[in-house]
């Protein structure tokens, strides 16, 4: 049974009552101790500390008001301890430095004395007062008095906040088996945590397996990734599901329950991968994995090294001629397989759903995908042409006539840095991969003209400037200018790229046998439904939004769900691997420890005032509030991030964040705002 917030509070207060009674003081009455720190001359040099302490002593409920040279020193802290023991002080107000600096010191002290640490109120009279108002000592003292009065008012109604231990389910789910998903899976599994890895496609490895070479070392990506693909596929703690998609997600940080739908392969695991079925399949459709640069049968394997090696049948392409069933030497083909739904219980979720290459058909002036413009391709298509398993035998050939192009023009920033298509961001890797591919083409065909039209060349980081230089030395021509359009001569059919070389301010018309568009990285298809199932927020660019751009780039908006790789924004492979490793470490932390420690600084709902309008549910970013079976909003204490955004959303003031309630804030505001004019009707 999960305890409600209210039960918990009652339980706490009973405990506290017992401990207070032992000391011989009544618990219901707040007994406040005020301590003003001199901080050497830092505070006392500007603020008349004695006067502040004196004025504080006259405030209601204040039983002790002192000033001392260094409150954070051992004797200073002892003052608190003594007063709690002897004077029955049950709330402390220390007027010294910031909450971040020594607030914790005093909170820990009162915790040692058996009080809840949230009953300490820190008043900052150094950074917020003495240090910034040095020239006006009278006003500074006045301000300090008001700040202390506000602190005392606030302390009067402070409530205890319990820290809870929530046990976690020791298992993790990773969505997506590209390089990020594989890295995260492996790292988590190596910590001894079982991992369920689910992949939408029939094979694992993602975009990386499609590449020909990786920058800046031009090594084979297949060779770099295979230890990881094999390692994950054979790991005893990893359960791999391909053709699988998330159906629903329930629960919160530490304990999730996920339903996954697994589509059948229609080929049993005893498949020996001999390939007889595909050879004899009468169907021929463009291969998605190969970006349309080759064809596949209705029963197929995406590429020779694919993991799992089992063939897969595409039901939508199949004409059910049953050839494959009859021809399979081990009778592995089975059309009767049904989709199955599995439920997993996990503690953390890592989302590594990757990216998609931007589809440039939207940019009319580049004519990509239009009839008669076959020789305009994307970089990923060029990679597939150059790749070792390509249909062209790793040669670059014009799709229109199969000739080797003599003039190749690459266009940068297609779909990136382009407000017309709604993508303001720089993808950040296109300059690098265009440089790589241009260099490779130049290596293969030294006589070919290879030109890159760019807005800005962005190749930062170790080894990349050298990489860029090397391409220039090979003879790759760089032109600074964004092409306005690609023209096709209606008579000869030749393509030409219209661009202004902005460095020499010359308009150019570059003849091109092959035009390669460096298309942007965009969020993958289906990210919207996935996001709404996981209840995590997206950035305006469409990627999943990280918790904090600097300090928490791998956490999502919801506790217990982590982002790995390009699902959070465009990245290259090394960044993706590092990002995924961090996501794995964060996801594994609570699972290794076995529990999550959380301060229950959460809002609670006064159900007498609540009218079930659901405004708090829409306001809550981490989706911690939901309707319960009775149709009333319920706060999930584990998922809550204590921001209080739900408070102003409530039209009746029914939802109130503990220790930041409207009346508590009012008490603090009154002296600060001047305090004189309180409306009494």
């Amino acid at each position: 049974m999960k305890m409600t917030v209210k039960d918990e509070k009652i339980k706490n207060s009973e405990l506290a009552e017992g401990s207070q009674e032992k000391m011989g003081f009544p618990e219901d009455e707040p007994r406040i101790g005020v301590y003003v720190c001199h901080c050497g001359h830092n505070i006392a040099g500007t603020v008349d500390v004695a006067e502040v302490a004196e004025s504080a002593s006259n405030l209601p409920n204040v039983v002790e008001a002192k000033h001392y040279m260094f409150m954070c020193s051992k004797p200073g802290v002892q003052l608190l301890k003594d007063d709690i023991k002897e004077k029955g002080v049950n709330r402390t107000v220390v007027a010294s430095c910031s909450k971040n600096q020594h607030g914790r010191t005093f909170a820990r002290t009162i915790e040692e004395m058996g009080l809840n640490k949230h009953l300490h109120q820190q008043v900052n009279v150094r950074e917020f007062c003495s240090w910034v108002h040095k020239k006006d000592k009278d006003k500074a003292t006045e301000k300090a008095k008001k700040l202390v009065e506000a602190g005392v008012n606030r302390a009067r109604k402070l409530e205890e906040v319990e820290t809870k231990k929530i046990p976690t389910t020791k298992a993790a789910l990773v969505i997506g088996a590209g390089i990020a998903g594989l890295r995260a899976t492996y790292d988590i599994a190596e910590l001894g945590i079982p991992v369920y890895l689910i992949e939408r496609n029939s094979t694992i490895g993602g975009h990386m397996t499609r590449l020909n070479k990786t920058f800046p070392t031009n090594e084979c990506p297949q060779c770099s990734i295979s230890p990881l693909t094999n390692g994950v596929a054979n790991h005893p703690l990893v359960e791999l599901y391909t053709n699988a998609q998330i159906k629903s997600v329930e629960g919160s940080m530490g304990n999730y329950e996920i339903e996954v739908e697994i589509k059948p392969r229609y080929v049993k695991d005893n498949c020996t991968s001999c390939g007889e079925c595909e050879v004899n399949c009468p169907v021929e459709v463009p291969s998605e994995w190969d970006k349309g640069m080759s064809t596949r049968g209705a029963i197929y394997k995406a590429y020779p090294q694919a993991i799992p090696a089992t063939y897969v049948r595409s039901k939508k392409d199949c004409i059910e001629c049953n050839t494959c069933i009859n021809i399979c030497p081990v009778q592995a083909v089975d059309f009767s397989q049904e989709p199955e739904t599995k439920t997993f219980k996990v503690g953390s979720i890592v989302v590594a759903a990757g990216y998609e290459e931007y589809d440039p058909t939207e940019i009319d002036a580049y004519h990509y995908g239009q009839e008669g413009y076959d020789d305009i391709i994307t970089q990923l298509q060029l990679e597939r042409m150059l790749g070792p398993t390509s249909m062209t035998g790793s040669e670059v050939m014009r799709p229109s006539d199969g000739k080797i192009p003599k003039k190749v023009v690459m266009i940068q920033c297609v779909g990136s840095r382009n407000e017309q298509v709604g993508n303001k961001y720089c993808t950040g890797v296109c300059c690098k991969f265009a440089t790589k591919n241009a260099g490779l083409v130049k290596d293969m065909y030294p006589d070919a003209d290879v030109t890159i039209c760019y807005i800005d060349m962005r190749t930062p980081g170790l080894n990349f400037e050298e990489y860029y230089k090397a391409a220039q030395e090979k003879g790759v021509r760089y032109i600074r200018g964004r092409p306005s359009e690609i023209l096709k001569d209606p008579i000869s059919g030749d393509l030409s790229v219209i661009v202004e070389d902005t460095l020499s301010q010359t308009p150019l018309k570059l003849k091109a046998d092959l035009v390669v568009l460096s298309a942007a990285m965009v969020p993958p298809e289906g990210i919207g439904p996935l996001g709404s199932k996981l209840k995590i927020l997206r950035s305006k660019e469409g990627f999943f939004k990280e918790f904090h751009i600097k300090m928490n780039p791998t956490a999502s908006s919801k506790g217990g769900i982590y982002l790995a790789g390009t699902i959070q924004g465009p990245k290259d492979i090394s960044e993706t691997v590092a990002h995924a490793g961090n996501a794995a470490a964060l996801a594994a932390q609570p699972l290794v420890k076995g529990y999550i420690e959380k301060e229950m600084l959460i809002p609670y709902i006064d159900y007498d005032l609540c009218m079930d309008c659901g405004m708090c549910i829409t306001a809550c970013n981490p989706a911690a509030i939901s309707m319960n079976e009775d149709g009333r909003p319920d706060v999930n204490e584990v998922a809550c991030k204590s921001c209080g955004i739900c408070m102003p959303a409530c039209p009746t003031g029914a939802i109130q964040l503990l220790n930041f309630r409207d009346d508590q804030l009012l008490d603090e505001i009154v002296p600060i705002a001047g305090g004189g004019v309180v409306c009494n009707e």
Binding site: K146, P648, D662, G674
Partner: protein, 148 residues
Amino acid sequence: MSSCDINECEGKYDNIVVFMCNECGQGSANTAGVGRMPYDPSVRIVRVQCTGQIGPIQIMDALNNGADAVSCVGCCIGACHFFNGNLLSMRRIKLMKKMFKELGYSDQFINQYTSRAAEGETAVGDFEDIVERLCTAITEGGTFENEC
């Protein structure tokens, strides 16, 4: 915005309530303190979890109790530690400004700002702007006065 001579308004205000969020807001004010960057002693800071937590109730509480100006200071746009609390607050203050204007008050004494924890100047700059805007409101004669 018309600027005015701040000295002219001196003495006409003494309570400015600034709600600063627990993250960048408090951080920048602390940095300003450590850097000993002086600002008007009328500025008083209330610590809240996030500026998105501050609603019309808190703002009107402050004004009802004698505050001359109220402001919220949150994290930079896009860097809110609770995703979009600063944007929510910004929108809320915009609406309140509109309402104040309709009621015949100046819309210059309730404001929303952002600041950066590492740069105390941003907080001090916000405070200076608060005072400047308050002065405009005072000269325009549309400040909030408690009538009870």
